[in-house]
Symmetry: none
Subunit: 211 residues, 4 copies
DNA sequence: CATGAATGAGCATTCATTCAT
DNA sequence: TATGAATGAATGCTCATTCAT
């Protein structure tokens, strides 16, 4: 019995050994520079071994993406959990947290972003469902906040689902514009635009005249 | 001098010959299927010749991106040029046109998106200035519309530049979410969210109570 | 002794378990898609276990070949057993049965064919005797029929062994030509050639003038 | 002009350099042991170079097969060209020549045989046509001989095409049985069976009674 | 007996790039 | 200028086999 458990532990360890190597490569060299043989070299494991634990390169990417998403989700849920915080503050804080995430966990952001924006289809139906559901949790949290704001009469009535998607898409789009700061955007500071946008969207939710 | 000019002309012709082949491959086979040797075959030019005119594959991509951007810019400017159209209608039409563009000119959209979402930095200083200016013109048009709306008292006062960037980023972000329609978005129709978002943003610009 | 016997039984069971998995893979996925690890997965046994019972992939193929041959032999013997059937009818029926076998049991046919047409020598002395005897039985049956035909004065005198080998080789060769039907054979229907050949060979056996 | 021709010559040389290496590997190690990288090593050329001259592994196989077929065809046509030889003697000589070919040019025989008997589909439609047409020439020669024999009243009337296919298939099948000589065939000498079969088939063609 | 983790050579193919002509 | 032959590293992935437990 102890044997079985140890085996299981070791298996877990190998998986994280592989993921560790992949993560290291991801963080140091970027998405386009990961290959199975590089992971093999980095992890000191044979290529066959990599394939024993992950049945394709995509599976490894998925695991990494899930890491990133769950990291982000944790942050967001931690904010969501602050019962005393009013709904609008929650949205602002979440937006800020996302901006910080894209800055501080750049490569995790990159990997999430990579799959979202690539025209290529990387994942089969199963994989897609698996991954996207993780991302869907984030949208759900925002939706819950909006819904709660509406229910308590704090926010105007609006389609909470549509609003949440717009909200998140706006943040997402703005972050991608960051690299245009000094060219197309003529030195307009993206972070300020980001703050402006968040504020604007949140104000939209507030009942006119009340405030 | 006549000689010099002819030489320059010929050089231009070769470049457009190459670009033509690349464009054909882009539109017919997609981004991931362009390689120098394929361009060589398609353009009836030697690989060496390709390299003489474009020093790397990325340079060709950049040129194609410019094409796509200028295509999009044309559409937008054509809308902008409709003097009789009120500012809010213009914004809606531009948004609709962009959505249509991402649908109908998918490969051009993909290549624009590719550079925008890639974590890598592709451009040297020269290329940056040269290329992104095309994208910047789009934002300028929107900005002009917003500004004109404010100046004529049609829109609320708001930072026109920041608003334009937000506006565009939202559209851009939403289009990228399209691929999540059936997973993370739980079958929420993105086009409807897109319309909702455009409407919402435009309404924000309108003076309260007036309309 | 009872223990020894049970051990032997269990060993047989394991072997047939492995063979069952291999057969399933053979019939469903074809020869080229069998690998030890696939057999391992299919049979619910560890790869090491497979190697314990069969010391190589080829050994498993040989076992499958035997299966196929014995399947074919059964069909042929069933025909041979029809006492009332005249010798010439038997030959025709056997030929037809073989043709049907190559069509309906394609993967068994493929594996038999594989060993027969491969330039490599797969068998060690042991395997040779063991395996080929199955094939040899088929020839014996034909030989018996021919011999009986001659003995009863139904057929001309000819070397029964040589004739049988020629008979079988012709069928075998023709089946292999099937894939040339639309190219080298210029749409000549192989089945018709097959029938023609069988008839021709059988007529050769008949006494001239009689019938 | 001289330059162009030399280039062409050099290109031819490279092709035969590659084919030479492939042939050498084929003859020394057998079909299953050829890989592009082995050809690359053997020919002292980079793998990329191989692919520059042959666009796939299959193309190389085809070239080799064509070599073999044309070798065989030459022999057969040389016999066919002997105007004085009666039709039956021609058939016997061709059969003998084929038997000798399978013995003396074993690896060429193996490669032809390999593709004929493999259940796998190696070639696309184009490649198949290309190759099989070469094989079809052999059958045509036999057919011509049979037809000529019939026309001159030397042979019985029979379907010349069907007969030719049967004739060749029988030879082909018998050669494949060679490896069973000491097992399934119980030491019956295949060459004798071969001779017996050829004689038998040729006699069938002769008018009864005349001879 | 039975396991299944680990291996690493091997596969066909693509590619951006160089360079002698 | 223009060519296209040559390169060889790189890719994702499979597989038969071994061996410590």
């Amino acid at each position: 019995m102890g044997v079985k458990e140890r085996k299981k532990m070791e298996k877990q360890m190998r998986r994280s050994q592989i993921l560790g190597a992949a993560r290291k490569l991801l963080l140091s060299r970027g998405m386009d520079n990961i290959s199975i043989s590089k992971i093999s070299r980095e992890s000191q494991l044979g290529v066959g071994t990599i394939y024993f634990y992950y049945k394709s390169k995509e599976d490894i990417f998925i695991a990494l993406q899930e890491e990133g998403l769950s990291l982000l989700l944790d942050i967001i849920q931690q904010i969501h959990g602050q019962k005393k915080l009013p709904s609008d503050r929650k949205l602002v804080k979440i937006a800020d947290a996302y901006y910080a995430f894209t800055r501080d966990q750049q490569e995790y952001y990159n990997i999430i972003n990579y799959f979202l924006s690539s025209p290529r289809i990387f994942f089969n139906e199963d994989q897609k469902n698996h991954v996207d559901m993780a991302g869907s949790r984030i949208l759900q949290v925002i939706q819950e906040i909006v819904l709660h704001g509406i229910d308590t009469g704090y926010f105007n009535k609006t389609d909470p689902k549509k609003f949440s998607i717009m909200f998140w898409a706006t943040l997402h789009g703005l972050v991608q514009f960051k690299k245009l700061e000094h060219t197309a955007l003529h030195n307009e500071n993206i972070q300020q635009v980001y703050d402006y946008s968040v504020q604007t969207m949140v104000q939209m939710l507030h009942k006119k005249g009340e405030e």
